[in-house]
C-alpha cells in the first residue's frame, strides 16, 4: 500500500483483500450446506488452518505451510464428519464442539511451538521468504484504477477466483453439482439412484475443511505473516451468515463478501480521514463513536442480502442426519 494511493483503487484493493478468505471459506461451506451438512465449526477450521500453516511455514517454505493449513483443517473436518455424518450426531452441537476444540488446541499448539522455538534459540517469526507476498500479474496490474486491485493480490486471491468459477460451473452444469444439490434437497432420491449419501457428504465436508484451511492460511502466512490466538476474530461466523443470507447462491455469497470488505475498508478510511482531512464535513464525524463505524460492514452486508433474496429456500434436508431416524430406533 503506497501513501496517497488513489482512493478508488485503495478501496477496491482493500475490499478484495478482505473478501478473499470469506469467499474461499464460503465456497466450501456453500458446497457442504448444499449437500445437506451445516458445519458451524468453520471458525474453528479457519483457526486450525492459521496455526497449521504458520507452524509448518516456519520450516522456510510457504507452500508447505499452505498445504499444512489445508490438511490440518481437513483433519478437523474429518473429525466433524465422523461424528456428524457417520455417527449421525446433531450437526450444530458438533460444529460448536469443533469451534471450542480449535480455540483451545490452536492456543496450546502456539504456546508449545513458541516454547520449543525459544528453547532452541530460534525466532517465532516466519523466516525470510517463508510468507507469501503479493504476486502482481505483469501488465494487468498496471491497468489504471482496478488493475492493482484485481491483479496485484496474493496467490490465493487468483485461486479463489478460479475455484469460484469452477464450483459455479460444476454446481450449475455438471452431474457432480446435481448430485451435491440432490444430497441436500432430496437425499432419498440419491439413495434410490445408488448414490452413497454419507460418502458424498463426507467428501463435501472435507472439501469445506480444505477451503476453510486455505482461508486460514491466507490470514496467517499471506496477509499478516503472523499468528495470534483467535486471530480469525469471528470471520467464520460471518461466512456462515453470508452463506445463509446469500440464500445458498455463489453470487449472493460473493456479493455479500465483497460488500462486507468494501464497507470495512470505507469505514477505516472514514475513521482516519475525520482526523486528517481538511474538510469540515469529515471533521464533524469526530463526534461519532468509533464503534458505529465498526458496526457498518456487518449491518450493511446483512441488510443488503436480506433484502436481495429473502424468499429463496435453503436445502430441504439441511442439517438432517442420514439415514433418517426410523420409528423403531
Amino acid at each position: 500500500m503506497a501513501a496517497g494511493e488513489n482512493i478508488v483503487t485503495f478501496l477496491a484493493q482493500q475490499m478484495i483483500a478482505a473478501a478473499v478468505p470469506l469467499v474461499m471459506a464460503g465456497i466450501g461451506e456453500l458446497v457442504a450446506e448444499l449437500a445437506g451438512v451445516i458445519n458451524i465449526g468453520i471458525e474453528g477450521l479457519m483457526l486450525t488452518g492459521c496455526i497449521a500453516a504458520y507452524t509448518a511455514a516456519s520450516c522456510g517454505y510457504g507452500s508447505i505451510g499452505l498445504c499444512a493449513g489445508i490438511l490440518g483443517a481437513m483433519a478437523l473436518a474429518a473429525m466433524f464428519a465422523t461424528v456428524a455424518v457417520s455417527g449421525r450426531a446433531d450437526q450444530i452441537v458438533c460444529g460448536a464442539a469443533i469451534n471450542i476444540l480449535a480455540v483451545g488446541a490452536s492456543g496450546t499448539a502456539w504456546a508449545v511451538f513458541q516454547n520449543w522455538r525459544q528453547k532452541h534459540d530460534m525466532s517465532v517469526s516466519l523466516p525470510h521468504g517463508a510468507g507469501f507476498h503479493k504476486w502482481p500479474l505483469p501488465f494487468l496490474s498496471r491497468t489504471p484504477f482496478f488493475g492493482p486491485a484485481l491483479f496485484d493480490q496474493y496467490t490465493l486471491c487468483y485461486v479463489t477466483i478460479l475455484l469460484g468459477i469452477l464450483v459455479w460451473w460444476l454446481l450449475r452444469y455438471a452431474r457432480l453439482g446435481l448430485i451435491i444439490r440432490s444430497l441436500g434437497d432430496f437425499p432419498e432420491a440419491c439413495q434410490a439412484a445408488g448414490i452413497r449419501v454419507r460418502a458424498w457428504r463426507w467428501g463435501a465436508v472435507l472439501f469445506a475443511g480444505g477451503c476453510a484451511g486455505a482461508a486460514g492460511a491466507y490470514l496467517s502466512i499471506m496477509r499478516t505473516h503472523s499468528f495470534a490466538a483467535d486471530m480469525t476474530g469471528g470471520q467464520g461466523f460471518v461466512v456462515l451468515a453470508l452463506v445463509i443470507f446469500g440464500r445458498w447462491n455463489l453470487f449472493g455469497l460473493t456479493a455479500g463478501c465483497l460488500l462486507f470488505g468494501f464497507i470495512n475498508a470505507l469505514q477505516q478510511v472514514l475513521q482516519t480521514a475525520r482526523y486528517t482531512a481538511h474538510n469540515r464535513l469529515l471533521e464533524s464525524l469526530q463526534h461519532i463513536p468509533f464503534q458505529w463505524f465498526q458496526m457498518l460492514p456487518y449491518a450493511a452486508a446483512l441488510l443488503a442480502l436480506a433484502v436481495m433474496a429473502k424468499n429463496r429456500p435453503g436445502p430441504r434436508a439441511l442439517g438432517r442426519a442420514w439415514p433418517p431416524e426410523t420409528p423403531g430406533e
Binding site: 501513501a3 482493500q14 478482505a18 492456543g107 504456546a111 499478516t224 476474530g233 477505516q268
Partner: protein
C-alpha cells in the same frame, strides 16, 4: 510359642511411622524454603503468547519467581466472570499473592478479598482504589508524550496516527500523551486515532494501510498480538518507498518491540512497561509483611514506564538533536516542570 517381634519392629507400626516421618524428612532434605516457598499467581484475560501485555506479564512474573525462589502459576484467558472462582481457588490453595493482570480483574479481586482470605491481591493496569487491593496504575502517558514529540519530529507530512486495541483508560492515556507530545513540537499536526482489536492482525493491518493511504507517516500502535499486522503494513509500505523517498515509521508499546523481525529498521522507539519491577515490589511487600492496599503509581518517575529508543537507528533516523530534545522532556516530566495535562 511363636516368636513375637518387639513392639518397635512391628512392620505395620514402621509403615505408619514412615508415612508420618517421611514428608518431614523430605522437607528437611530439600531445604527449609520448600515449606516456606512463596506462591504467586498471575491471572490474564488473554493469551500469554500475544507478544504484548499478557506475554510480558507472564515473562515478568516468571523472572520475579526465579529471583524470589517462589512458585509461580499463570492462568490465561480468564474472563472477569470466571475470575472470582479462579482467585478464590488460589486463595484456598494458600497462595500469598494473586495478581489480576488487567483492569477487568479489579471487581473480582475486590469481591474475593472482601471475603477475609489471607491472600493478598494486586491488579495491574487499573486506576481506581479498592479496599484490600493494591492497584498498579501503569501510566504510559508521559512516555507516549515523548513518542509524540519524536513522531512530530520524524513526520514529513504533518499527519500521524494511533491504533489501539480497545478504547479503555490505559489505552486512551497513550493516545492523549502521544497527541500532546506531538502538538508540543508542531501545534498544527494532525493526529488520527482508531481502535481495532487485540488479536486480529489482519484488521490492524488494514487500518494501518488506511492510515498510510491518508498520508500518515508515523504510527503508534498499542494492540498487542495484532501489532504484527501493523508492522507488516509498515514493512510492506516501506518496501514500496522509492530510494530517497520518505519512509513510514511505527512505534511499539508495552514491551520493547524495537527488534521486531518484520520492520525493526522502521521502529525507532517503544513505550515500555517494566512489569517485572512493579511485580517485584508487590511480591517483596507481601513477603516482608509490608503490603498495603491502594493505588501504586507506576510511571516515568519510578522508572517502571519509559521510552526505549532503537540504538540501531541512532544517527540515521534518530538525530542527536531529537535525542537531546527527548531527554530534556524526560527530565522536565520527571521534575514536574512539564505536565502532559497542560497540553
Amino acid at each position: 510359642m511363636p516368636f513375637k517381634l518387639p513392639l518397635l519392629f512391628n512392620p505395620r507400626r514402621i509403615a505408619v511411622l514412615l508415612w508420618v516421618i517421611l514428608p518431614v524428612i523430605l522437607a528437611t532434605v530439600h531445604g527449609k524454603p520448600c515449606l516456606a516457598k512463596m506462591k504467586i499467581a498471575l491471572i490474564c484475560s488473554g493469551s500469554v503468547t500475544d507478544g504484548g501485555w499478557n506475554q510480558e506479564g507472564r515473562d515478568a512474573i516468571e523472572r520475579v519467581g526465579k529471583k524470589l525462589h517462589a512458585r509461580v502459576s499463570v492462568v490465561e484467558r480468564v474472563s472477569p466472570v470466571w475470575a472470582v472462582n479462579v482467585m478464590r481457588d488460589f486463595a484456598m490453595r494458600g497462595y500469598q499473592l494473586v495478581i489480576g493482570h488487567g483492569y477487568e480483574f479489579l471487581v473480582p479481586a475486590t469481591q474475593v478479598a472482601a471475603q477475609g482470605v489471607k491472600t493478598r491481591f494486586a491488579v495491574s493496569g487499573a486506576d481506581i482504589a479498592k479496599p484490600h487491593i493494591a492497584t498498579l496504575n501503569f501510566d504510559l502517558t508521559e512516555p507516549s508524550y515523548q513518542l509524540g514529540m519524536l513522531a512530530a519530529m520524524l513526520s514529513k507530512t504533518g499527519k500521524i496516527g494511533f491504533i489501539g486495541g480497545e478504547k479503555i483508560p490505559s489505552v486512551t492515556a497513550c493516545f492523549r500523551g502521544f497527541r500532546a507530545g506531538a502538538r508540543s513540537v508542531n501545534p498544527h499536526i494532525r493526529v488520527a486515532q482508531a481502535y481495532t482489536s487485540w488479536d486480529q492482525p489482519a484488521l490492524s493491518k488494514s487500518q494501518a494501510e488506511a492510515f498510510i493511504q491518508q498520508h500518515i507517516d508515523v504510527i503508534y500502535q498499542n494492540v498487542d498480538a495484532a501489532g504484527k499486522g501493523v508492522f507488516e503494513a509498515v514493512a510492506q509500505a516501506d518496501r514500496r518507498v522509492k530510494k530517497g523517498g520518505d519512509p513510514i515509521y511505527v512505534f511499539g508499546c508495552n514491551r520493547n518491540q524495537n527488534n521486531n523481525s518484520t520492520c525493526s529498521k522502521f521502529t525507532p522507539a517503544s513505550a515500555v512497561i517494566r512489569l517485572d519491577r512493579a511485580f517485584m515490589q508487590v511480591a517483596l511487600a507481601v513477603k516482608t509483611g509490608k503490603f498495603t492496599a491502594g493505588i501504586k503509581p507506576e510511571n516515568l518517575h519510578n522508572g517502571v514506564c519509559l521510552v526505549v529508543l532503537n540504538p540501531r537507528l541512532f544517527g540515521s533516523v534518530i538525530t542527536p538533536r531529537m535525542r537531546s530534545a527527548l531527554a530534556a522532556a524526560g527530565r522536565r516530566l520527571k521534575a514536574g516542570t512539564l505536565s502532559v495535562a497542560g497540553h
